[in-house]
């Protein structure tokens, strides 16, 4: 019976309902897009084609075996890497040859090559800050000549200042979007409440408790929250695929590999939609509490 009443509320203002859902979807997409920029700044996608998924460490030729093992231990101790191994001279030489051609084999002998240790980055998104810390730690080791973590490190220098700015704006936007969605849904529920005032007053007169008045409103808000979330998933995907990459270069470094939103941010956007909708319902509590007045 409560579901039937909630459905009546929803159907009582179809145009307002559609406009509210559209408005909520729009602001949620905006928030999600901004969060995508933030995610791209702070994370590196280790599984994408453009970003190398390995970390290569080059150690001075002739370093003692114990020292090499020490560097391997540092890499194995990191949660960001898996399958850490010392690349054999043969293998390293072939890789260099493949990359730089025959000239290299003529210029240097196999014995003159640095020792190379390689580790695969864990699959998924890695925090750029954590990767930077690992690289810095390895570079400080006296035997290490160089560390190559690919494009992931290229924006390391600009990360802190830009990211701080983006994170601040993302928070401001989060508060704004949460408030807007809550107000939109609350306003819509108030409209539906006014539309069904006669019935609600009758229910109050007959002795309906606050549960009976409030639950249909809560279900109504949940409905709008879920519909807005579903639409936001579609529009945000489109935004990330077609719109954001074009605008990302304005904020992010050039040739930046733009990847999708992190799983936690997806849940964040859906959480904002549902949370704000439920808050919108709670904001109508004074109407529920209002005593019945029957003429």
């Amino acid at each position: 019976m409560i579901i039937k009443m909630a459905w009546k509320h929803i159907c009582s203002r179809p145009i307002s309902g559609i406009l509210t859902v559209a408005g909520a979807t729009l602001v949620l997409t905006l928030l999600g897009s901004f969060w995508a920029l933030k995610d791209n700044l702070s994370h590196v996608q280790s599984t994408s084609i453009e970003t190398p998924s390995n970390v290569h460490v080059f150690i001075k030729t002739g370093t003692l075996n114990a020292e090499v093992k020490n560097v391997v231990a540092i890499m194995q101790g990191s949660t960001l890497l898996e399958q850490v191994r010392v690349v054999s001279s043969d293998e390293a030489f072939k890789e260099f040859e493949n990359e730089f051609g025959e000239t290299l084999s003529k210029a240097v002998s196999e014995n003159a090559l640095p020792i190379m240790i390689t580790g695969n980055m864990i699959k998924g998104q890695i925090k750029r800050k954590d990767l930077n810390n690992l690289v810095e730690k390895l570079k400080k080791h006296p035997t290490v000549l160089d560390v190559d973590a690919g494009a992931a490190l290229n924006i390391g220098s600009i990360e802190s200042e830009t990211e701080a700015r983006v994170v601040n704006w993302a928070f401001v936007l989060f508060v704004l979007v949460f408030s807007i969605v809550a107000l939109l849904i609350s306003h819509l529920i108030r409209l539906a409440f006014e539309g069904n005032k006669e019935d609600i007053e009758t229910m109050k007169v007959l002795g309906a408790t606050k549960f009976w008045i409030f639950t249909p409103m809560l279900l109504e808000a949940l409905f709008y929250g879920l519909v807005s979330s579903a639409l936001t998933i579609i529009t945000l995907n489109l935004s990330i695929q077609y719109i954001l990459p074009a605008f990302a270069n304005v904020l992010l470094p050039k040739n930046f590999d733009f990847f999708t939103l992190s799983i936690s941010s997806w849940f964040g956007v859906i959480g904002v939609a549902i949370g704000a909708s439920l808050l919108g319902a709670v904001m109508t509590w004074p109407l529920v509490r209002k005593p019945a007045r029957r003429s």
Binding site: M1, L206, K210
Partner: protein, 260 residues
């Protein structure tokens, strides 16, 4: 369960109800003009009483009923309904109290979203009765008011008389100790009206107090019972100058016109 610990179902002591009508002709400094809807009304309704509340329009019948139901507060005086003092009662408690009262209105007040069955079931749902018990009671109640065939019909397809029978079923389905009916026969033909009042009068034998507000003096004469006549917001025993003051008068310009 009926509570007979209190000898009265409704008890009102010196109840006044004034409505502010805003500033009068004398302006704001003279204070707001007040309408005395009820003036020092005292009454007691016992268990199983069948009472007609009559009086002209504007006499305060609906105000009196609203105060008994806890939908309005008296300006002064004390109201005790079903043994509970309404003066000190929160809105939540008032709603719970109304679950114990059967209410019938002139315009039925059925919920158009719900079908006949669900409308009658509503007060039982508010009280949290089990589904099986709810179904049993609603079916039996609809049989009593001869509406079982329309059990799942939407209410908007029913006639005014049929809707009123559904409203009666909704009021009786909780076995209330008190039934308050505000002009229940206003939209009904004489035959249906008499049938309805007859049904309500039968409840008297089951210890239920029935209070019916009506204009229909024919019904009052035919069915008897206790009669409370409200005039100008007062009951007969308490009638005073306020009542006379509220009576209609021929305007002064008529008298002037007669002379010229």
């Amino acid at each position: 369960m009926r509570n007979y610990s209190n000898p009265f179902v409704v008890e009102m002591r010196d109840v006044d109800r004034d409505f502010d009508l805003g500033p009068g002709q004398a302006g704001k400094s003279a204070g707001p003009v007040k309408l005395h809807a009820l003036a020092r009304v005292s009454l007691k309704l016992s268990h199983g009483e069948f009472v007609f509340l009559t009086g002209p329009s504007g006499a305060g019948k609906s105000t009196l009923l609203r105060i008994i139901m806890g939908l309005d507060n008296p300006s002064s005086g004390e109201v005790i309904t079903l043994g509970k003092n309404l003066n000190q009662m929160s809105e939540t408690k008032r709603r719970q109290l109304r679950q114990e009262i059967g209410l019938v209105f002139q315009d039925h007040k059925l919920l158009p979203t719900l079908n006949v069955f669900e409308n009658v079931e509503l007060p039982l749902s508010f009280r949290g009765l089990a589904t099986k018990e709810r179904n049993r009671r609603v079916e039996e109640m609809l049989e009593v008011v001869q509406m079982k065939d329309h059990m799942f019909s939407p209410v908007h397809v029913l006639s005014a008389g049929e809707r009123q029978r559904i409203a009666i079923a909704r009021a009786l389905v909780t076995c209330p100790s008190l039934i308050i009916a505000d002009e229940p026969t206003g939209n009904l033909d004489p035959k249906s009206a008499r049938g309805l009042v007859r049904l309500l009068r039968e409840l008297k034998g089951h210890g239920t107090t029935v209070l019916i507000a009506t204009h229909d003096m024919g019904l009052v004469r035919d069915f008897g019972g206790r009669i409370l006549e409200l005039v100008g917001g007062t009951l007969p025993s308490q009638r005073n100058k306020i009542a006379q003051h509220n009576a209609y008068k021929i305007p002064r310009f008529w008298r002037t016109a007669e002379k010229s």
